[in-house]
């Protein structure tokens, strides 16, 4: 330990230019790695091991708060100070690809024994592929499932969560019949875009159509999902409340204020920590029901990926770090450090993960995930989905008007994209024409 410390001091001194010669000739490489929030904090431990395996590489992990990450990445790109590699929410990949900031990875993957398409959940892998080219490597995964109170469901006459929408709805109605005042069957925070979007995906909506040129919100599949979603509020099965209106959702769940909650993997740990001990036997997780039963019960393909920046001076070493972080045993240790679910299917063989009955629902769900539209404007579009669904739920706006408004807004946002696509197509057409003339 002491020796390691001394070595680090000498290294620091070398960086400051205090010594030269033998050490300098050894070609030291410094990798700059940006990671967010808890991942940024915990990955430091794993990175030390990578440094031991690669004595000539120093990895400088910079921890970035999630709330500032998106701005910081784009600003860094504009300012020409991107790191060598970074963690990226996988819905951000299209944006960084659109500005040509990240490296296509197919040629790296072709030579890799560790990173392979078939080692990762297919829906998750797909989020990182744009125009048939891979731009990011899945690191950990995130999707939404149903957390529910077993005891309340049982009291309403159900042993498990039904698999089709109609039966699911019937179960909610049965729960609601037995519920007291200020108790509801399900909590769907009105300020989240995920629930209406996932229901739309389940009902077969592409969300955006014509290659991401227009919104598909008024079309039948999304309309059906939206009516189902808004109907849960209109019929009093879900409280008209956003995340900010509920001070402590865990307390309310324990109290029975709501019996179901669509949420993500981080809440497995939170439920175990925050629910009172006597409540621990009474909750469970289940994959989402679908309009036509289990097979249609898809959810979102979320999570974070690792990207290699085009500006990197050490792409080889950076790729080696990405490979290192993709190794099943490293992914397993990362799960223990953070609770993030591994993207590599092999890492799920871990006894603590395989034996975790709450994680099982996620494992099933991850076989049925679908990416949200892969356009750079997606983040902005989600804020419009929230606005409009709040108008429907709180303001009683009709489905027709709400979806027409949403399509109009989204089509205006996508106008630039259509123009760019048309121009590129035109340019290609022109060059094809010149070839013919020759």
């Amino acid at each position: 330990m002491l020796r390691g410390l001394a070595a680090r001091w000498i290294l620091a001194a070398c960086m400051l230019g205090a010594c030269s010669g033998a050490e300098a000739r050894e070609q030291r490489v410094t990798l700059r790695f940006w990671a967010m929030g808890a991942e940024g904090e915990n990955v430091q431990q794993l990175v030390r091991e990578f440094e031991q395996q690669h004595p000539n590489v120093d990895v400088r992990v910079q921890q970035i708060p999630w709330t500032a990450a998106h701005e910081k990445l784009l600003t860094a790109y504009v300012g020409n100070v991107t790191p060598d590699l970074a963690q990226l929410g996988n819905t951000w990949v299209p944006e960084l690809q659109a500005v040509d900031a990240i490296e296509p990875l197919d040629k790296y993957v072709a030579q890799s024994d560790i990173v392979k398409a078939k080692g990762v959940f297919p829906g998750i892998w797909d989020t990182n592929v744009l125009n048939d080219t891979l731009f990011a490597v899945p690191w950990y995964v995130d999707t939404r499932v149903l957390f529910y109170r077993k005891d309340i469901l049982k009291a309403a006459g159900y042993d498990s969560i039904p698999q089709s929408w109609s039966e699911w709805r019937a179960a909610m109605q049965a729960i609601q019949k037995k519920a007291g005042t200020r108790q509801w069957a399900i909590f769907l925070p009105t300020n989240e875009w995920m629930q209406p979007t996932v229901l739309g995906l389940q009902n077969g909506s592409p969300i955006l159509k014509d290659g991401g040129r227009y919104g598909a919100f008024e079309d039948a599949p999304f309309r059906g999902a939206y009516e189902f979603y808004v109907g849960l509020f209109r019929d009093g099965l879900a409280p008209v409340a956003g995340n900010n209106d509920i001070a402590n959702a865990y307390q309310e769940f324990a109290r029975g204020t709501f019996a179901m909650w669509i949420t993500g993997p981080w809440n497995i740990g939170e439920f175990q920590r925050r629910l009172p001990p006597e409540m621990q036997q009474s909750w469970a997780t289940a994959p989402l029901p679908g309009p036509q039963g289990a097979a249609s019960g898809v959810s979102n393909a979320g999570g974070s990926s690792l990207v290699l920046f085009k500006g990197s001076a050490h792409p080889k070493e950076a790729w080696e770090l990405i490979e290192f972080l993709s190794k099943p045993d490293i992914q397993r240790r990362f799960y223990h450090l953070t609770g993030d679910l591994p993207a590599q299917i092999d890492a799920w063989q871990d006894t603590s993960l395989a034996g975790n009955r709450y994680a099982a629902a996620f494992y099933t769900q991850l076989q049925r995930v679908r990416p949200t539209p892969k356009v750079p404007e997606w983040e902005f579009i989600t804020s419009k989905i929230i606005d409009v669904s709040e108008l429907s739920i709180r303001g009683g706006m009709s489905t027709d008007r709400a979806l027409a408004t949403l399509d109009a807004q989204v089509n205006r946002i996508l106008e630039k994209r259509r123009w760019i696509l048309a121009r590129t197509a035109h340019a290609q057409h022109d060059s094809a024409a010149t070839v013919k003339i020759k």
């Binding site: 784009l74 600003t75 040509d100």
Partner: protein, 305 residues
């Protein structure tokens, strides 16, 4: 020979003085031109384009859109909400800050007070501390369960308030922080103003039988008028540009209750990277501040007359 004579004739003393004058102000003018007029002109130009993420990738993706950014802004409810919040903050927070600083200046400057320098330093401290550090401490003070503020209110029987989580209370909480943070600077200016009021005016007023209150209204305030207007204009200009407080404390929430114009501009510009739209917000804000300052200056002239 005639050429030389003409050159000498051209270099008259006035010409030389003029040239010297220009040379003296040249550095300042260059700086202002490069760092003020140029960026302002550039951002005006930016505001009539659709500069966005695609343009960052490739400059040929920029299009001129005329006034479209402006017309779309005027139809955007978030813009109006941000405008309302900004006025709420400036119109309540501005006068409150000025009043607090005047009060503090009067207290610190009072003859009966001891340790004047100590109090002056203490009141000035918030102004020179970093806002981010201060905001973290204030978030603890505002915490609905463990915060000192609710604890103190609880002691007098007031139910706990969710300061930063309740849309009705978030802006008052931000105003309170801003007043506390900024009154020290204005206080120093007021103290300077107070000290320049001639002592004999107070003596004369006292001889005529004026008490402390009448002395304040008829001697202190009229003599402070120029200071007052300076402080008022500077404070309001600063407050219309509210950004750091909500950015650190609430990120514009809850339900957009603390989204200010500058925060909205920041989000459009650096979150969604729609720089054209962001530039047009900046220009609208510039116009608002210009009009407001003109009104204040006119008021000053009328009151001074």
């Amino acid at each position: 020979v005639s050429e030389v004579r003409a050159q000498i004739a051209a270099k008259t003393p006035e010409w030389r003085a003029g040239r010297a004058g220009w040379l003296f102000i040249a550095p300042a003018i260059t700086l202002i031109a490069v760092f003020f007029f140029l960026p302002v002109g550039a951002s005006l130009l930016l505001s009539i384009t659709d500069f966005d993420l695609y343009a960052v990738a490739n400059p040929s993706n920029v299009r001129l859109v005329g006034t479209r950014n402006y017309t779309e802004l005027l139809q955007n409810p978030t813009f109006w909400l941000a405008l309302k919040n900004t006025f709420y903050f400036a119109l309540i927070g501005g006068p409150l800050t000025v009043a607090t600083s005047l009060g503090a200046a009067l207290l610190v400057n009072a003859k009966a007070v001891r340790f004047k320098t100590f109090f002056r330093t203490v009141y000035f401290l918030p102004f020179v501390t970093t806002l981010v550090a201060v905001a973290i401490v204030w978030r603890y003070l505002y915490h609905p369960q463990y915060g000192f503020l609710n604890y103190a209110l609880g002691a007098v029987g007031i139910h706990p308030i969710d300061w930063l989580g309740d849309p009705r209370w978030a802006m008052p909480a931000i105003i309170l922080l801003a007043v506390w943070k900024n009154f020290g600077y204005n206080m120093l200016i007021f103290i300077a103003g107070l000290q320049s009021v001639p002592e004999d005016l107070y003596e004369a007023a006292a001889l005529d039988g004026a008490g402390a209150v009448r002395q304040f209204w008829h001697v202190t305030l009229p003599n402070l008028a120029p200071t007052f207007f300076f402080v008022g204009v500077v404070t309001m200009i600063g407050y219309f540009q509210l950004f750091a407080e909500p950015y650190v404390m609430t990120t514009g929430g809850p339900l957009g209750a603390t989204t200010s114009l500058v925060l909205f501009m920041y989000e459009e510009g650096f979150r969604w990277w729609r720089l054209g739209v962001a530039a047009s917000i900046a220009f609208l804000l510039f116009l608002i501040i210009l009009v407001w300052t003109a009104i204040q200056l006119r008021l000053e002239r009328r009151l001074a007359a």
